[in-house]
Symmetry: C2
Subunit: 438 residues, 2 copies
């Protein structure tokens, strides 16, 4: 067999339906796709590859998918922490955004985010922010995948005057990236409390026509529920359901406030939920019943949220947080096991955006989006079960090699497509400018 | 001024009462102790040092103190995860311990733990395990600090036949390390459910005479409370109080089940609590009301617990978990702020063991136990508030230099006193032996 790339790790964790862990198997890549997983002895004998790489003590996992973030907010990382939610938003985050967010901010912030994400094994991120065309271009330039959000809020920002202009700009973005190999789009109405019924109805119609997901913050806090009951006489999920939005293209983020009947409704509708455990804790939003959602059959993906409420974009860390918090909230140490956390961070993220035929697992035919983790560090030794070590003990620094569609984007821990020195210099300059005025 | 060592970081976080962060200050070490913190311009002009180190973009913090662990259990890391508590203990951990734990196991496990802890910025750990004299020697040989637990359980193990022998061996250990610069001892009765009143009374008397702390698992799970009510007619804390043990030398670990009156009693007694957030989540033990304990004036320290229930010994990660979970449990994003999490991981740990005159903060006169963190990585840029970046975003891989009593134990991320290759080889061999029989 001829191949472009042949990898010989110690373990492969394909994230397949059987939850297998393959030992002493090799991965064959041709045409940017996974061609086969073979016993290493067989691969060494039968495959002629342009590039062959021995990865002793390493585990291969699918490239991680960050299913909810606001990547340009890396430039506001740690600007204001440990504050009551409304003080944080009204006195720090929103004024800083109103003053600083322009295409240059978004470009610099996305590039910093892309560097951080690639180095920690994330190959694809679902983003919600202003000037998403800049984010999409920065991701594509880095060779990363992104789902660029067509954001919409009722009120004017530096990006758009109102719903019509948000939609118009969103659809332009959608058209520009319609056939792009790495970039997809999703409607991104911000939240039930910031979007009126009219724009929701427009989005629902367009999403059905274009077959595009709808990505929204939903049931994040108790206040959101209280406000919706006051303003609309119903809970936000009920309102979205009345507007016809509760279906398989809905990707609902947070869901810390969710009743049993709502869990059933989400499961029946085939809607997806994105869990952001660190952000929910940091903002004290409440506890998402992650294990209960999984048990009910809901497709549960994982996201970091933005760097202003996390404060990193580290999906390795987020997997650990999801697996640990899931047990605490369920009151059971067998809830949300390690393999499930890894599936949330990979295949479930792909499924939420209709990309599971293409990415999310290491199976023949799928794109070669691969992360190699070095488990020989002291914190992951000895290895009884590699998935336990990956989820509960490994750190982002153990991400050594990353490929997207067969192209190597991280080599020995360092980026191949991004100029780290320039990105960090630019981030420091933005930080100094923002700090000086804060 | 003459000095042995002069460090020029960008920031110093002394963890002092005023919660200062010093910018462009330098730290002067003489005789293994911190002599002064001076503006860098002044230090460069006035101090002649044998060794001078520029640390651009770095923050100095006090060496981290892991206030509760079972270091040899690194060799069982990930052996059995995601199981119900009693299955995990009865079918995996206890049988493995009964079969394998001997001085050689303890030596190899402690050395692996010491390597992992030093690399992640921990300079001192409070340990509870069998053959503690082996742990103490391994720590001292590495140049690290340890508080070696004089363990006691009612039942026989490979280490001792019963309470008398545990005590006898403990007191031998205490005598051997009475005047050691790096090693202290603490009584370590395992838990209320594994120790009878008689041994508790002996320990209380000895602890008072010798002025040694008592380190115990307490109110870890609801089952522990239920069992104590059934067997003793009172809650474990009430029982310890009746036995005269609730005082300033009591260090109570976990405390996930604690009523308001108990919080007040612990605060009044001046007893200390060690919070282990990741272990509590992983074993679904319950939620320690960390912010409430702090508000009540309880000295709250931080620990990782053993690698079988975490699964790493990473105090950088544990600080983040404590700060995030503290907010979630308190229902307030301003609960347990970043500086408080850092104090829990340093000064509060020192205070719990009566070491706060010696370690736990970067103040003149204290031992030079120092960690230098490189904040120039993408995940901690830009820097508005270094303590936010340290607690919420930095990883253990950003620990670059570590000193204990002025001696450099980690240089550019690598150990100077430990042979990492030999330690990892030995850990792998133990892992293979244990896996083959499991």
């Amino acid at each position: 067999m001829q191949a472009e790339l042949l990898l010989h790790p110690k373990w492969i964790v394909p994230v397949d339906a059987a939850e297998r862990v393959l030992t002493d198997h090799s991965l064959v890549v041709t045409g940017g796709r996974i061609r086969a997983l073979l016993p290493t002895a067989e691969a060494r004998a039968d495959v002629q590859a342009e590039q062959e790489m021995d990865l002793p003590g390493h585990a291969l996992i699918p490239g991680l998918i960050n299913a909810h973030t606001h990547s340009p907010m890396t430039l506001l990382r740690g600007l204001a922490d440990d504050l009551p939610l409304m003080t944080w938003l009204n006195e720090h985050i929103w004024p800083a955004e109103q003053r600083w967010v322009d295409p240059e901010f978004v470009r610099a912030g996305t590039r910093l985010a892309a560097l951080e994400m690639l180095k920690s094994g994330t190959v694809c991120f679902n983003d919600m922010y202003f000037f998403a065309e800049v984010t999409a271009k920065a991701a594509a330039d880095a060779g990363m995948r992104a789902i660029a959000g067509m954001i919409l809020v009722d009120f004017p920002t530096r990006f758009a005057e109102g719903p019509e202009e948000y939609l118009h700009k969103g659809l332009e973005l959608h058209d520009r990236y319609r056939d792009h190999a790495l970039i997809r789009t999703a409607f991104a109405p911000h939240a039930p409390y910031s979007v009126s019924d009219g724009p929701f109805e427009r989005i629902r119609t367009l999403a059905d026509e274009l077959e595009v997901p709808i990505h929204i913050h939903l049931h994040e806090t108790r206040d959101e529920i209280v406000q919706s009951l006051r303003d609309h006489g119903e809970r936000p999920l009920a309102r979205l359901n009345r507007l016809g939005m509760l279906g398989p293209n809905l990707v609902a983020v947070h869901m810390t406030q969710i009743e049993e009947a709502e869990i059933e409704a989400v499961a029946r509708a085939g809607s997806h939920v994105v869990h952001c455990p660190e952000s929910n804790l940091k903002l004290a939003s409440g506890f998402c019943p992650a294990a209960r959602l999984l048990d009910a059959g809901v497709n549960l993906a994982l996201g970091t949220d933005g760097a202003a409420s996390n404060n990193d974009l580290d999906m390795m860390d987020e997997m650990q947080a999801a697996a640990l918090l899931g047990k605490g909230v369920a009151g059971s140490p067998s809830a949300l096991p390690a393999y499930t956390a890894l599936r949330m961070a990979t295949l479930n993220g792909a499924r939420a955006f209709g990309l599971d035929d293409e990415i999310g697992s290491l199976e023949p035919g799928k794109s070669a989006d691969i992360v190699a983790l070095d488990l020989r560090d002291p914190d992951t030794q000895p290895v009884y079960h590699p998935v336990s070590q990956i989820v509960y003990a490994a750190g982002r620094d153990q991400v050594r090699q990353v490929w997207v569609a067969g192209r190597q984007l991280i080599r020995d821990g360092e980026p191949t497509t991004l100029d780290a020195t320039a990105i960090l210099q630019e981030a420091r300059e933005w930080g100094e400018r923002i700090a000086a005025s804060n």
